[in-house]
Assembly symmetry: C2
Homo-oligomer: 383 residues x 2
């Protein structure tokens, strides 16, 4: 099977390296699309997508460019030309899930995307298998290594504040120069959307998912969590409530008996709860050149062997996320007026725990306070 | 695809139930082998294996009888008759791995056994995929729910001693009337043998693996662990050392930052360390009618869809397990003389921590003390 790589950045070069180190007979990297001159692959390099799309010998395209465009156009064109696709592009896939999954099914092609959520962890892959034999009651967990690195540092380190730890994460390559996608939860929106798409066979628009990030967490908050015996994690979560799905992204506080409590560094831990199988969790590195490259090559080898589990993915329409259907108690710290009728107890001088309120209410409240130029940090309390 | 179940006990009936609740088009349960009269399946029941082996319409046999014989003879006969096999039988598979895996390959048949280790957790399945794209440096973890239930109760409960907690586990159905296979580590031997077989493509004889169980753990030991900040788990582990594999089963002490520390009840947590992918861990229920049934049905549906990952399993010969190649510090409590030259520090009145000694040395020492009719409990300290 001849393959082409679209993009030779971190993940693209990690994929090529894994293909070299763990070759499978008959699988060959035949072309690479990249605008830059790259000596080590100059014989197979092109800057023109048509060289790949119009090459009938290329059976499978690996899209590792990132970003919505031109990735979406290239992936759709590849499917229309009869090529299988492996993609790690959570943003693009989550926004065009219904169209691309159905196009692949129609054309009898494989569209695989293990690496789009969980990095090296075979999360979506196993979720697809689990849903085949069980009723998936909920999905989600810690799906972003950057924010976990930051929160872990703040909670276990020498008490540095958010800005200082973010700079350290940037210096170490764990956070981007523009950290917005990570710390405001946009990255997790795409990943939990794909998880729900897989679990419930209906498309959730990632842009509709309410998200509270960790941008406003302070050393004072961390001290409060410690005093209460919690560790804070940024989580994405989808819950089946009757025929509806409640989806949200928010910081959540965990007690020491939860596996999330001890999750160190840039790790991920993602779980589903099956009605019959119970809770199953997957732990590992959610990002990185070599881990993500290995996940992509595994998808490729499944396709080459004719055993791609992603061929089971289906999408039978769209569904709204319904965060009003789930209620939590929240830890809240804010420098503005707050409806005291929902306060259950105070924490220190300036924070409190709410009574149980819906995820939708809490997120609306917080977004309004932020829009007014005031400060708020809110985190739900895990049950 | 017509299938036959060999055995209609807990796992067999759980498999049938999952097939009914989550049917796949074209997959039908056509025959069940069981000596008992079972009304709910009387139309498809037989007590004669030849009714199944000689039925050319049955493509796949699911062996859920347990025990080495007649399971081994039936599975081998089914493969020789050109039938795929799904088995949950860790003892039988681990003792005949090389012959059965190679027979299936030769005959171009599927031999799948997700449920043989980890119960509902897709452990062996994902280990096979991981090894395709990475170098697996070690495998293992908490693979037996019964012993974890006992240790968890002793460590988090009201301080009951081993015998009392064992009785509770038996009353709740977590432990067998004869608990030997669980508490002496025989169950884990078979599971870690299969894990190493998969990871390293060479067969480890489960009966050659040195094992220390938890039969002799006391409330006094648990108090010592608490004082030192540890939780104790029974683990199985395989480590690649050059071209050799060190395999062993023993109690191990974990600090609170390890995921194993918080593992509650009858849970399992099993991990591999990949050279490039890092450590990936799988959490869930390692046993139970419905979880194990679901794992078996998933294997069946992979075979029906022609996408069985177990077809990748290979065995290129046998290898000895080499416990002399790995060294740990051990917690030891004994009522007999002990070579003081290996003692690093004492713990309380009657226990101590050893200097680093090889797994082989520690296990030999302990087995000799037990054979002499004396008492010893030893647990390694996780690094």
């Amino acid at each position: 099977m001849k393959i082409a790589l679209l993009g030779y950045g971190t993940v693209g070069s990690g994929t090529a390296e894994c293909l070299r180190n763990h070759p499978m007979e008959g699988v060959d990297l035949a072309k690479v699309l990249d605008k830059r001159k790259i000596d080590e692959i100059k014989e197979i390099l092109t800057d023109n997508i048509d060289d790949i799309l119009n090459d009938g010998t290329i059976e499978t395209v690996v899209e590792v460019m990132g970003g919505e465009e031109p990735a979406y156009t290239f992936v759709k064109s590849a499917l229309l030309k009869g090529k299988n696709v492996v993609s790690a592009n959570k943003l693009m896939l989550s926004r065009h899930y219904d169209e691309l999954v159905n196009l692949a099914r129609e054309k009898n092609l494989s569209l695989s995307f293990s690496a789009a959520a969980g990095g090296s962890i075979p999360w979506l892959f196993n979720l697809l298998r689990a849903k085949r034999v069980d009723n998936i009651l909920n999905v989600g967990g810690v799906m972003n290594g950057t924010t976990n690195f930051i929160l872990d540092k703040m909670q276990t380190g020498d008490g540095a504040d958010f800005d200082k730890v973010l700079k350290e994460a940037q210096a170490k390559g764990y956070a981007e120069a523009d950290p917005t996608a990570d710390i405001d939860g946009l990255d997790v929106k795409a990943k939990i959307a794909l998880s729900c798409d897989i679990a419930y066979s209906k498309m959730i628009d990632p842009d509709d998912i309410p998200a509270l990030g960790i941008r406003y967490v302070t050393k004072n908050d961390i001290d409060n969590f410690k005093a209460m015996g919690y560790n804070c994690r940024l989580i994405g979560r989808g819950e089946k409530i009757g025929d509806e799905v409640a989806v949200y992204v928010e910081p959540m506080l965990f007690k020491p008996d939860a596996a999330e409590y001890t999750l160190a560094g840039a790790g991920n831990i993602i779980s589903y709860l099956g009605e019959k199988m119970g809770k199953q969790s997957y732990f590992g590195l959610g990002a990185g050149k070599e881990p993500t490259g290995a996940a992509i090559v595994n998808d490729l080898y499944d396709i080459a062997a004719g055993i791609s589990i992603f061929d089971m993915a289906q999408c039978v329409g769209k569904t709204k996320c319904r965060p009003e259907l789930v209620c939590h108690e929240y830890y809240v710290r804010t420098n503005t007026e707050f409806d005291r009728s929902i306060v259950k107890e105070t924490v220190g001088d300036n924070a409190f725990i709410t009574k149980k309120i819906s995820v939708a209410s809490m997120h609306e409240l917080a977004q309004k306070i932020i829009a007014d130029g005031k400060e708020i940090f809110a985190a739900s309390i895990a049950e």
